[in-house]
Amino acid sequence: MENSASSEAFVRFEGVQKSYDGKLLVVKDLNIDIPRGEFLTMLGPSGSGKTTSLMMLAGFETATKGNIYLNGQTINNVAPHKRGIGMVFQNYALFPHMTVAENLAFPLQVRNMGKSDIEERVKRALDMVELGTFGDRRPAQLSGGQQQRVAVARALVFEPELILMDEPLGALDKNLREQMQYEIKHIHEQLGVTVVYVTHDQSEALTMSNRIAVFNDGVIQQLAPPTELYEKPTNSFVAQFIGENNKLSGTLKSTQGGLCTVRLPTGEEVTALDINTVGLNKESTLSLRPERVFLEPVEGQCDNVFNGKVEEVIYLGDHKRVRMNVCGHNDFIVKVPNSTDNKGLEVGGITPIGWSSNDCRALDPA
């Protein structure tokens, strides 16, 4: 986990637990330090505790145990409206009976700001999200993307230092979602606010975040920057959840200098990085990215070479996805860049494949 000094943490979860029914922990012992200005994403499947954690930070749920600090102060007993945290909701929660400008003015009015001051800030916020002329419209008259922008502007207009976003792009179609990802990222960079973002969409998390906390089963599985998370997953859940992954299960036979040997049920032995194994002769899951597998490897290029039988070839334009039967697994995926020389991929054909032991990670049994 992160070792940043706790005094510098802007948001800090310390041993936070949450249970709704007194029997089951939805969040088990959550510890995160979020420095000022960071874009942190909580990523995980539904029911993993990520939204509950966000709601505890916003003040809509109370922690069963543990403390949440904001700017060094514990906020467990601070009412949501006194926390000064901006929030963007899943379905925007724009007030339908108010115009866009009235929606934006709302947080300023409840803070008893002057009328001219409010007008100016609303205008500035609308300009920031490029909706300068939309102030008089009602939310229902806007497209999904425009509503999204208004929601972001409303969460920012009172200049909070912390913004929470709860799957804000879930309702948008794919193109718009990608565009909005960049816009939110740019706003974050421009304003330097701290953002805590919740999503179950891994590509969204990878695109936008400084760091990603992968949640599963109420526990953070790994907290790391996107590249590290993808390149160096530390357990098989993260390896499987982020990106595409080839999973081979076997028994750990030997370890030596950071490398280890895993024997597969079909008898083959694979050399891999020893990352998170539980002990000799115990189960281990090997994780291997499809783009790190080579077809017909040159002599000496790979220290793991096996034969694969082509089961299926899917043409995806820039690359081909080849499903192969390797070492008894018939769901072994290889990504082959589309070039003129890989013609020999015919279904049923046997092709030698290989990968470097540095690209293959031996992890805990899934």
């Binding site: 003040g59 899943q90 947080p107 009602r138």
Partner: protein
Amino acid sequence: MMTNTVEAEGQLTPEEQKRLTADMHRSLRRKKFRALFLVAPLLIFIMVTFVAPIISMLYRSVDNPQVLEYMPNTSAALADWDGQEIPDEATFAALVKDLAEGRKNHTIGKAATRLNYERSKMRSLITGTARKAGRLKPPYKDKVIKIKAGWADIDTWKIIKRESKSLTASYYIAAFDMETTPDGEIKMLPEKERVYFKMLWRTVWMSVLITLLTLLLGYPVSYLLASLPMRTANTLMILVLLPFWTSLLVRTSSWIALLQGQGVINDILVWFGLVNDDNRLSMIYNATGTVITMTHILLPFMILPLYSVMKTIPPSYMRAARSLGATPFTAFFRVYLPQSVPGISAGAILVFILAIGYYITPALVGGQTGQFIGNMIAYHMQGSLNWGLAAALGVILLVLVMGIYALYSRIVGNNNQMTLR
């Protein structure tokens, strides 16, 4: 460029448009027939049991056949009468003929009753004369006047002439607490005799009060129901609906048991010494009883529309308001309440319209001061048998309700549009 082309292509010549419209109608015709076929049984049922009676009621409030039908000769004889002096012998002959025939056919009473509405003592005048009419020999004029002196009164004849038209406004005139003098002048009744307007006004303000009370009591309950988890809400909903499954009479009578002089509530108050035993509160058989009982009975009609609207207000709105810095109080009044307005207005209009036409409960617990206009209508239907007046009162009530509904849809309709726009 792109849009220009599309627009140019999208433009249809008037002829093409006409053809397109015709094609559209043809393709939809089958669907329309199907729809009509499906609703036909209900439509027929409503026509027979609902629309037809209403039309008949509308007509009955102006229908005036009695004098024309049962005193045809008198009506005809009076048609050319100038109203300056007592009619001539020929008219009296016609009168005697009508009375004798009417008595024989047992129909003269209907005409007598009808004329009695216009002026009391008309009934005894006519029936008294009719009893002897069969034995009279001409000339009639003096003999008839001898039987009943009322026939020498020129006003008697003016009223008969006036009411021998097949349509009348006199029921409406009566319903507005007015009367027509024999000379045809319409004026208000003396203050003491005005009943209907007072009754109508009381019905309206008590209905408004009942509506406000149901709103006051129903809003928090609906809010609770809408914010609870589904299972708990359903259980509580049964408690709200329970009164629906109980007979109206049972509910009303149980209020009698609670509120009457020797009832539960008075007993408790006396027992605690809050009320003197000789001075028990009168909470029933008056306006208070009507308001309490009807508020209870109509409460579900407020809760259900409120609940169904509140259910559609996502909790995230309140959360958003809180996160933007609003206190729970501000968040409620500025974000939640405005969005629950459609529920408030739907519930209010429902309760108000139900209340304004209520009749059983005021009849049972209303005493003298808690009667509604509905009870008056019922009295004229069943007691005085003045159906014309009952119909006129009914029409006035109907018009009032329709007017209020029009006002409602004007205000709320516009509001809804504003939200959707």
